[in-house]
């Protein structure tokens, strides 16, 4: 099963993308407990593009696709903004006290920890982040 959508990189589009994910979840009859990882990944990566990957005067286009195969779900988020690899961000020190923590990098860190695999490619002028997690046993 595969679904695809595209939105401008604007904060107001976040609920639209969340609904896109939730509709996929119902249609594919996926376990509710597993949604959090994908809802979180969608918000963190999309909002990174909105907040940090959108140059003044131009709103990048963000394409989101979901593909379920053999019990593994892949979320792919692609934008035509300036080249940026979110996986190059240093991991935050999650053992630091709240006062010592620096802002930034936390969202991407959560995504890396909660997904099974995350990869970045710069492809045809676009940033492509691909995130995969096994969410149920493959049907024999």
């Amino acid at each position: 099963m595969k679904r695809h959508t595209a939105v401008p990189s604007e904060a107001a589009q976040l609920p639209v993308l969340t609904q896109f994910l939730q509709e996929f979840w119902s249609a594919a009859d996926l376990p509710p407990a597993e949604t959090v990882t994908f809802e979180l990944a969608l918000e963190e990566i999309f909002m990174n593009v909105v907040m940090h990957g959108s140059p003044a005067g131009r709103v990048p286009r963000v394409e989101v696709s979901l593909a379920l195969q053999d019990g593994r779900l892949t979320l792919m988020i692609e934008d035509d903004g300036p080249s940026f690899d979110p996986l190059s961000l240093p991991a935050p020190d999650v053992t630091a006290s709240l006062e010592e923590r620096r802002v930034g990098g936390l969202g991407v860190y959560l995504v890396r920890r909660m997904m099974d695999a995350v990869s970045y490619q710069r492809l045809r002028g676009c940033n492509r982040l691909s995130m995969t997690k096994r969410i149920r046993e493959p049907t024999p």
Partner: protein
Amino acid sequence: MNVRLESIGLTTVAIPEGRLDFGAAAGFQAQLEQVLAGAGTKSAGVIIDCAGLDYVSSAGLRASQRAGLAFAICALKPAVREVFDVSGFSRVIAVFADRATALAQTRQPA
């Protein structure tokens, strides 16, 4: 997201309901700051009761963090608990199983 506030002695219990995502984070932070500012010089505490919270993202974690350090959280659902745990926040914020335990633990000595 809807947030209810209840006062129990010197402690304020904030009860966010629904999704604490990017869109809800700024409003939640403002509400917490208002509560903390209203506490004045008294050593009041804030407990965030998450029994009705279905989802939190890094924006929601940061809103809670920036609003001040004088708080405890309780009653985390599994999906929210996972984000608090992976982020390390549940190691630096006091986390309690339910509101009664949080109130008992954070009560100021008379």
